[in-house]
Subunit: 307 residues, 2 copies
Amino acid sequence: MLIGSIDVNEFAVIDTIASALGDSATAPWIRVGIGDDAAVMRARDGFDQVASIDTLVADVHFPTNAPPELIGYRALMVSLSDLAAMAAAPRYALVALTLPEVGGATCQQWVQRLASGMAVAAQQTNTALCGGNLSRGPLAISVSVHGEVEAGQARLRSTAAAGERVYVSGPLGSAAACVRTNQLLPVTADALTAQQHAYYRPAARFDCRADILAATSAIDISDGLLQDLAHVLEASGCGAELHAYDIPLGPGAELADALAGGDDYQLLFSSARPPATGICIGKLTHQPGIRLDGKDIPADGYQHFSA
Amino acid sequence: MLIGSIDVNEFAVIDTIASALGDSATAPWIRVGIGDDAAVMRARDGFDQVASIDTLVADVHFPTNAPPELIGYRALMVSLSDLAAMAAAPRYALVALTLPEVGGATCQQWVQRLASGMAVAAQQTNTALCGGNLSRGPLAISVSVHGEVEAGQARLRSTAAAGERVYVSGPLGSAAACVRTNQLLPVTADALTAQQHAYYRPAARFDCRADILAATSAIDISDGLLQDLAHVLEASGCGAELHAYDIPLGPGAELADALAGGDDYQLLFSSARPPATGICIGKLTHQPGIRLDGKDIPADGYQHFSA
C-alpha cells in the first residue's frame, strides 16, 4: 500500500517518545528539538545547524520496482525538504541503506543506480553525501540531512499569527494524482508523465529560501495541505480560512489531491507581507480550525500509519 | 539469524556507491568522507563536527523479542561507538524508527520502553536525542549520531605505522559468547548474565577519549578484532603481530569469540607511547597481514551480509 489512511496514533506515539526521553531530548545548545520539521542546534559562528532524519520503506513510501535512480532522487529530496521548511541551507546528508541481500551484478547495478539518483539530487541542492551505512534487512532507505541557517532564523511551525496570509510555494496535488490514477508503475526514468514527475522528482524548495526566511512560520507539505496546515495552526494557536479557487492545482490534480496529498513536497508558510514567489491561498484567523470557502473542513491527509 | 557469515560483497557495494556518488560524496569543508567510522566536517570555532549513521534491523542486529529497553540502549550505544572511535565527543543523535503497526497499549508501551532505554544511553554519554522520524514498515531503528572534536584531531584508520603498538580498550568476546551459547533469549533487563550484559549493554568508550586522542589510529571493533584490525592495516599499509596470551578475554569468552566477535564494541587503536587505559595486544609491522603467535591468520569476522 502506497498511501496510508488516517490514524492519530502516530502523533500519540511521538508524544510518548518525547515524554519517555525527557531531558535526553534537549540540551542548552539545542534551539528546537522534537516537534518541528527538523532539530536546530546552535553553531559557532553566527549559524545554527539544522538536522532531520527520514526513513523511506519499500512499498510504503516508494514502489520497489520503480527505477532506482528515481527512488534515490526522491529519497534525498524528500528528506531535504524538511531543511527547506526551516529556511536552512543544506550542507550534508548521511544515508543508511537496508538491503535484503547483496550479491551479483543485479544488486550492484541497482545500488549504483540508486546512488546516482541521489547524486543528482545532491548536486542540485549543493548537499554532500558524506557518510552512510549498509545493513541486511527489508529494503529501506534512511536519510539524515544537515544544514545551517543564520543564528535564530530557522522558521518554525509555532510562530504564525492571526491576520497573516497563508502561502504555498507551488502547485499541489499532481503527486497524489499520480497515485490515484495508478501511474506509479510502470515508470521510465527519462519519460515521466507530469504526474510521475511530481511524485518521483519532487524538488526541495531551497529556491524559496528568501521568502521562507521572511515568513512568520513554515512547514513542508508531506502529510497533505490540510494536515500540515493543522500542525501549524495547533502549534501557533490560530485558525485559517482558505479559498478553493486560490489553491493552485498541478497537472492532473483535483482539489482533493491538493488538500490531502503530500507527495509534492511544496512548502506552506505564513507571512505578514507578500512574498516574491508564494501563492496566497487564504489567511490566518483567531477562530480555530480550518474553513474552506466558509465551511469547516477536517484536517484530513496522509499519515504514515493506517488503522 | 543474528550473526552473519563472511561476504566481501559489502565492501564492493560500498565502493560502488562511492564511485557512483563521485563529487557528491565530498565538499571542501569535509575532512573525512566515506571510508572511515564516521564523516568529519570542519566546524566553525576550532572544532570539527563528526557524524555517523547506523541501522539496526530486527532479528538481524537484535532479537525482536528482547526487552525494548535493551534494544534502545544498545541501538544508541552501538551507533555512538563510531564517534568514540574518531575521538569525538558526542553532541546529538537523530532516530528513525520503523514499526510494523502502531496502535494499542502494547505498541505504545513497547515504544516507550525503547525510548527509555535510549534515554539511559543518552544520559550516560551526554548525548541529546533531539530529533527523529516514525515510519510504517518492518521493525528497524536507524540512528544518526553527531559529535565534535578539536579541529584536525579526529582519529582515522589510515594513520597507523609499523613499529607502533596495538591496543584494545577492554576485554573482548563476551558478547559473541552470548550469541554462541544461546543466551540472547530469554533475557530480563534487570537480571543479565555477564555475557548478556556485554551484548545488550555495550558502552561507547568515550571514557578512553584521552587515549584515543593520543593514538595514531583508532577504529571500533564492530565486525570483529581481526576484521577491524585488517581495515586499519589496509588503510595504513602495514601488518600486525598479535599475541594470543595478551588478548583480554571477557567473561565466558573463548579466543575465537574475541578474534571474530564485534558486538562488545571495544576500541582498537595504535599508539607510539603507552596509553593510560588500553591493553597492548601486539605491534604493527612492515610485513603485511596479521600473524597470531607467529602464524598467519585470515581476517575473519562478522560482516553484515551472508553469502
